[in-house]
């Protein structure tokens, strides 16, 4: 027995069993801790979308536990072609290449098109409006450079134990990344 019995309290069967169970439980917890010490790390991880695996299925917009998804479209300007005819911005067969709503692909008009110089236009995502539906991402990846892609925005993500989008993700694109490098920003054009 671990503790010498207290002279005031006689050790009966119940107290002996209780003490034995406590010692056994402590040993169990100790063994568990020893096993887990190797598997545990102080460095946290967060969810992120691997853009190369993303299938642009659109489930990010609806599967998040947040009412407005934590996944938003992100623009890597460094690999953008600044096309006049942006296939991420314009829907199929637009009437005119202007900012009129009927020409736009984005259901919430979250992409702002601004003129830079002939014939280049800059496309900027207004994150307040973006719902992460991946329509523009699909357009950009099919016909453009793929500079538009989805990312988990960490100012919004609550970092669930099990990401509810990851559960339904068609490309298994959700990965855990270290918290000090929480984004997978594209640096080279990848398209499909």
């Amino acid at each position: 027995m671990m503790n010498p019995p207290n002279p005031q309290e006689p050790v009966n069967r119940r107290s002996f069993l209780g003490r034995a169970a406590r010692v056994a439980a402590m040993t169990g917890v100790g063994a568990l801790l020893g096993k887990l010490a190797g598997a545990s790390a102080a460095k946290g991880t967060v969810w992120q979308i691997d853009p190369s695996k993303c299938k642009r299925c659109g489930k990010c917009a609806t599967a998040c536990v947040l009412e407005q998804s934590a996944v938003k479209c992100v623009h890597a300007f460094a690999i953008c072609g600044y096309c006049d005819l942006c296939t991420g911005y314009f829907g199929p067969q637009p009437n005119e290449l202007n900012t009129a709503a009927e020409n736009q692909f984005c259901p919430t008009a979250a992409i702002q098109r601004t003129y830079v110089e002939d014939p280049y236009y800059q496309y900027h995502i207004d994150e307040k409006l973006c719902i992460g539906c991946a329509k523009c991402v699909d357009g950009c990846n099919r016909y453009g450079n793929g500079s538009l892609f989805l990312q988990v925005r960490h100012d919004r993500c609550v970092n669930c134990n099990e990401c509810s989008i990851a559960r339904v993700c068609e490309g298994q694109a959700f990965v855990r990344v270290p918290v000090d490098k929480p984004y997978l920003i594209k640096t080279t054009p990848t398209t499909s």
Binding site: A39, F77, D84, D118, Y120, Y143
Partner: protein, 403 residues
């Protein structure tokens, strides 16, 4: 293809002749790309060289929650546990417990949005034990171990005032009704089964069942699926009349704490000195955790011993039967057969263990809480006449214990 050719005609309009070569280039390039989509997929539209001095805007990357904040979470948990122990064992204050509950609900519930939590941490630990690639966050380990160790020594102080799920249910409880003992015992099996299922699902990499079916989280986040919001609402409505329905009849971490608390060193005591056997504490307990003194003349010892021995012998038989049933069920529902065996055996052990526990003799001379069912909410302290006398709320009079 139609789409692209249309695009080219669009591009031709209104573009100055200066860009004709470029346009041609793009057209040829586009055709080329479409023919050899895989080989040249990465070079469709080279980034332009701007002449107007345009600078590329940066891609915004809002930072996640600062890393040191996980230590804050851990410290808040440990501090709240220590405070809960103080309120239960030292100041014996229901008011303190309520205040701490509100804080825990605000911090772990509404501020941390129910994640990280001790209930879900069981699954992370199970996954870390079975999958060597999974890195267990340190906070999760603390959230798993700290309440468990506290329970091992001093009962379920975590449930009393630190768990936001429990706090939410405790605060909505307005008119508790008694659950019949047989129903309480029967429903009390569910948390253990849920724990087994959650651990097996997590360990085999089939997802975090416990997190997915946590009915309180939709309230913490003000959003959730229709099913979970309905379930959460149902739990809260039921929780107005039945004390802590989730904690008692579903919470898997509660099941773990319940097991561990059987061996607790210090237990909640209702009365500071003498029990007057007034049964007021039993009426005040909304969770049916208070146990009566055992009658002097009970069942003769030999027959009780025979029953206990019979039940202990029945235990492996029950485990084997349930394991076989579980494996068949797992095959029928396309789950791993091994998981079915393990879950079945666990279910058999839980049911057999429950039957055995029900037939174990207890010798109680006073009213005392069953430490594994007691949430240490401190309600009974307020009603105990001896305790009220100690606090000076009623005048000191000699109270004689009925011999």
């Amino acid at each position: 293809m139609l789409f692209i050719s249309h695009a080219k005609t669009q591009r031709r309009e209104g573009v100055s002749p200066f860009f004709a070569p470029l346009r041609l280039c793009v057209s040829i390039f586009l055709g080329f790309v479409l023919l050899n989509a895989t080989a040249f997929a990465e070079q469709r539209f080279p980034p332009p060289d701007f002449e107007s001095g345009y600078h590329l805007p940066p891609t915004a990357t809002p930072a996640p929650r600062a890393e040191y904040m996980q230590y804050v979470d851990g410290m808040v948990l440990l501090g709240a546990l220590a405070l809960a122990l103080w309120f239960v064992y030292r100041s014996r204050s229901r008011r303190g417990i309520t205040a701490l509950s509100i804080f825990s609900l605000a911090y772990f519930g509404f501020y941390r949005k129910g994640c990280v939590c001790a209930i879900g941490s069981v699954q992370n630990v199970a996954l870390a034990l079975c999958d060597s690639h999974y890195v267990l966050p340190l906070t999760v380990l603390v959230f798993f171990l700290a309440p468990l160790l506290v329970a091992l020594f001093a009962g379920r102080a975590f449930c009393a005032a630190v768990c936001p799920q429990g706090a939410l249910q405790d605060l909505v409880l307005i008119r508790p009704i008694k659950v019949p003992a047989w129903l309480e015992a029967a429903l009390g099996i569910i948390p253990h089964l849920f724990l087994g299922a959650g651990v097996i699902f997590a360990a085999t990499g089939n997802g975090f069942l416990i997190c997915r079916f946590d009915p309180m989280v939709p309230f913490f986040r003000f959003s959730g699926s229709l099913l979970m919001i309905t379930l959460g609402g149902a739990f809260l409505v039921v929780g107005m009349f039945v004390g802590r329905p989730y904690c008692r009849f579903l919470c898997p971490y509660g099941a773990l704490l319940r097991l561990v608390t059987v061996a607790a060193k210090w237990r909640v005591r209702v009365t500071p000195d003498t029990c007057t056997q007034c049964a007021l504490c039993q009426h005040s307990c909304p969770f049916g955790a208070m146990r009566e003194p055992t009658p002097q003349k009970s069942e003769p010892l030999p027959s009780a011993r025979r029953r206990l021995a019979g039940l202990l012998l029945l235990l492996p038989v029950l485990m084997g039967l349930c394991a076989w049933g579980g494996s068949k069920l797992a095959l029928a529902s396309h789950f791993a057969e091994l998981g079915g065996w393990v879950f079945g055996a666990w279910a058999g052990l839980v049911i057999g263990g429950k039957l055995t526990a029900l037939s174990v003799r207890h010798n109680r001379t006073d009213f005392e809480p069953d430490s594994s069912a007691c949430f240490a909410c401190a309600r009974c302290f307020e009603t105990c006449p001896s305790e009220r006398m100690r606090r000076g709320l009623i005048p000191l009079e000699p109270v004689h214990k009925e011999e």
